[in-house]
Symmetry: C3
């Protein structure tokens, strides 16, 4: 598309297409609320210029470099840093040209849509990106990045972001969030509490992490009570920096609600590093229930993101470390896995637990039936590999009939790629508008209701669910 | 929809839409054959007026109250009875207003379609239901219910029901069915044989149930041979009241074909209440094969409905008991699970085993390939949470190419909500008409064939499969 | 369809339909490259006339006779041979009439599309097939089969087949391929290396097969090193007859990368026939990794086709033997199963491993994410029961967004039914054209790109992936 098609992602039948466009026109300019993501708070704190086009679009985006790698382009040639921080290729232009030569690989992918949208809408580039235009695009983007209006805060404001959440570990001192808070800029950047390093006995340096947690909290976290207290203290600290949620990304959805004695015993083994894999899994599962109980007190929304088998390739993990595109989804079961936690807190109307999945087979079979009855449960949007036109459509088609719209929580961009944020929210608003228009034109929803639901899905539900 | 859209659920492209409407027009008024459901035979026996709108539409319909509960409305406020039979809220109008205030929660759900259809078609109400119209709707429906033409038998006739099946336990004396048979009304209400209380060693009071079974059958059911004989006797008794099928709702699709000695041993343990969960599961699985063997003799159609994890919430089960919307589907495997039974009886052309699923992932992968080769197997329609426009579409798209149309058995409403019966059959007829029209317009089926298949799906196949 | 609809399988909305037709018109006449299938090389070698219509269309096609069997037609009446080779019904016309009487069973199935296409395009028959036309069709096809232009080689040329692969065991002497090579006909028929009889310890006569393998290779295959060497020698021999791939059809996707000592120990047990099922499975899994290592040396493409539970019915297997329509797909997990092999060779850019599945739930969840990052992996097309309009559409919708188009390998017909080859490729080309047109009309792909991708999917990618 030299030009972005203004009707993109709308059904092709004219009467549905025109209604989709009408609905979309009422939500396209709503503020962006991004309650879950992985942008770097340092960007907003220091507000420094982004280094170069390759480091903006290629090197940090696992969607982009994994596809190039899948067709034989080495991560070294793309300047992706090794686990030890070294980078082989550092010439942004070389990386950019390699990206351009292989741009056809992205045909039909959401990355292609996000990139086209960013080139056009963020940098005002026209014409198609490819080998012939690589240098022109590189030069233009480089020039832009040097200008003040392309600094992180300026883009944040221009993107119409009302609130964005980053994700930090309890061991993070939140210095960048402090710096933002103490600055004269009033962009609303909040943190979220992601405790993997201190709730996963198999996490590198678990015992030291617990020491550090205690030090930060000013309590002895090596006892069970002190450990739970340290979580409460850090959660309270995160709330000072806007946190309204915690975030939990285990390999499975397992929860446990263990008797205190068993929990204590597992915690002590975890500190000694003597947990079996099964025991480590049980401990992680139990901590979800503990976190839910803390949420009942402090009101943080509990997000559960299970199902990714992280760092699937042993040699790549050794060479390049985490988050290099080798996290592969696996089958995830929720019904038995969530029962212990749901028996403990699932009927609490004042608790919000948001479930995500990478296993679409659970939408209609498990997640919608669960969220359609338990007051504490809500469904997160189509996530990660499913953050796409087809993925979002399947999400609505497979969850709405059983869970309705009001047990869902709007859209999350969940991204590290700052410039893709408007593009991703745009895709979500288009897909939902198309879905609603289809319901109207097939006699399943009245037109005025569709416009109201569109506002809910694009704006109201996310603020309500995340208490933003 | 203030008015029901006459084209609802049809594809939007005009040429497909018009053909869908043409096909639908030839099936919409066919008699309703409802071979599987849970309406109360007492309604037809006593033919008493339905008490009030809330007790007709809200309190008995788990689809309705589970959705309200999921958004924080308590079951007490909806008048849902506790396990001990007590009800907190008994004012129908209060319940009705609460329902109306939350009616937006049903947007995009099949419940919404069924309710709109019933309000309009059964009670002649126009305008949209909601807080503003709650009282008017309540008063109008109440007035109607007081009239003779809204008694169960009158509605049965008006709905064009040719045959309806209810579901009873072998321990049921079928008194209501006797009363119907002895009445001057000639509505065809038949029973179905659902033996859970006497084939599931984990069912409350299993041993006493077996005693009772023997007493009803006039045989000693505490011996293996007497037990099987008691089943045969009760099945014969059910057949006197029109039964043409048995119905089996286990948590899994497991079947077994055990040597007699093992079956006897498990039965004796079951009577003593000493079965392990694994042994109880094996016994249930073996009984499916025994039931299939009995079907070879007495001709009852065997229905297998696996996959629901019943009563998922322990606290809700304790407080409110069974069937309160907490039955959650789980992953269900059929291929290995059904093998013992299929090796025993699967190639019998005179046996009919109807398979249902709550796990759509098995449609194309397992169920269609199995039903597409085993003469004894047929596929039940999209069921329970999948008894919806999208669910039915997926069923056809994922089963037809491998199993064809003639290994399916038409539609089941499977409902407790009497007034929703015409609405549900209407949805099924519309979705099938749309599917057939799509096949024609995409060159996959000739037009005259589509009209013939539409008759088969709406009427002929269900009578044939269920021997009605 | 008395006439084949020229727009069949295209979306119905006119603007998408016309673009689909435009795209299709540029690929419909491209040569057929069939890199994976099960036609009999003897046909091309001897070029004898096909015996009769029933033996051409009914008796050898498990899609056809399994559907008839599922509705009570016995395999004996269809002339399907017993395991001992005997056939009950041998009168082709009787079989054909039985087929015609039940032709309505195929409504909505791909078999119906393939048959209609073959009747029309291969035999020039007009009018609809059925009981009334059975004899006329039979006579016409019989007359055709007697003519030289309906001999295998003539049809091969007429179908526009550029290359076709058959599948042989390492124990096959490839005599038919020799005969083809030595003939004056220049049709390109290549073999593929399918080692099940000599890599599966549970295969009938495994030990004798290993003896035979050694004899054919001229090495002692009863030692581990000799066994691997024998594979290398036979693979080289197959390459002389055009083989560019090996093919592996295990029940699961399990791979192993065992220490030499363990592999040797399993091999010795396998020879003694003392492997437990678990050990046999581990050995099969290890051999996939060994085959991948050999591929690194000799360049053969490794095809993995897991997930079929073969010969599901014990009584049918006993009476009729293998490949009688009783192979049922089962749930298949790839993520953990492939890890050992992928850790060993997954990042090799010069290796090609093509993954197929019968479990569509793995498309978006596992296969696309894996193929979208591992350079050695490519996705095979929608396969077997999913080689259909809906199946192919789901394949594109569920894999493209994460794996793109260029990690897929075009279409395989995988068939035993020679006359269905053009029909199957036509369906694939139509479905892909429709998918691409939809992407264009929904603003996801530029029009010129769609035409280019269409060429890739219909012709270029298959040649590239299979090195043809």
């Amino acid at each position: 598309m030299p030009e972005l098609d203004k009707y993109r992602l709308f059904p092709t039948e004219p009467s549905v297409r025109s209604l989709s466009a009408e609905i979309y026109s009422t939500v396209k300019d709503l503020p962006i609320v991004s309650p879950h993501g992985h942008t770097d708070p340092r960007w907003y704190a220091e507000n420094a210029a982004f280094p170069d086009p390759a480091q903006l679009f290629v090197t940090p985006d696992h969607y982009v470099f994994r596809m190039l790698f899948s067709q034989g382009v080495s991560l070294d040639a793309l300047g992706v840093p090794h686990a030890d921080g070294t980078r082989v290729e550092t010439d942004g232009r070389k990386i950019w040209r390699l990206f351009a030569e292989n741009f056809h690989l992205f045909r039909g992918t959401p990355s292609r849509m996000w990139l086209d949208h960013s080139f056009r809408e963020v940098f005002g580039l026209t014409g198609r990106f490819g080998p012939d235009t690589a240098d022109a695009f590189y030069d233009h983007i480089s020039d832009c990045l040097a200008k003040p209006e392309f600094r992180p805060r300026a883009l944040f404001d221009r993107f119409g972001i009302e609130t964005i959440a980053t994700t930090e570990s309890p061991l993070d001192d939140l210095r960048w969030h402090k710096m933002i808070r103490d600055s004269d800029w009033n962009g609303n950047v909040v943190t979220a509490y992601r405790p993997d390093p201190v709730v996963d006995p198999e996490f590198e340096g678990f015992a030291e992490n617990i020491e550090k947690l205690g030090a930060l909290a000013g309590t002895d976290a090596t006892t069970w009570d002190g450990y739970l207290e340290a979580h409460r203290i850090r959660r309270a600290y995160f709330k000072e920096f806007g946190a309204t949620s915690s975030d939990h990304g285990h390999a499975t959805a397992r929860t446990e609600n263990l008797p205190r004695s068993e929990a204590v015993a597992l915690f002590e083994k975890a500190l000694k590093g003597t947990c079996t894999p099964e025991e480590a899994d049980a401990f992680r599962g139990h901590m979800l229930t503990e976190m839910a109980r803390m949420s009942l007190d402090d009101g943080l929304v509990l997000q559960i993101h299970p199902g990714s088998r992280r760092n699937h390739s042993a040699p790549m993990m050794e060479l390049f470390g985490r988050d290099k595109g080798f996290d592969i989804p696996g089958r995830t079961d929720y019904v038995a896995a969530l029962k212990p936690m749901l028996d403990a807190v699932g009927t609490e109307p004042n608790l919000t637990i948001i479930l995500f999945t990478l296993d679409e087979t659970t939408y209609a079979r498990e997640l919608a039936p669960l969220a359609g009855v338990y007051p504490a449960l809500r469904l997160g949007p189509a996530w990660w590999f499913h953050d796409s036109a087809e993925g979002m459509r399947r999400f609505r088609e497979m969850t709405t009939e059983t869970a309705g719209f009001y047990n869902t929580v709007g859209f999350n961009d969940d991204t590290r790629a700052f410039c893709s944020i408007p593009a991703r929210h745009d895709v979500a608003r288009r897909v939902d508008s198309a879905y609603l228009a289809t319901l109207v034109r097939t006699g399943r929803l009245a037109e005025d209701e569709a416009f109201e639901v569109a506002q809910d899905l694009a704006y109201r539900l996310v603020k309500q669910a995340y208490k933003l």
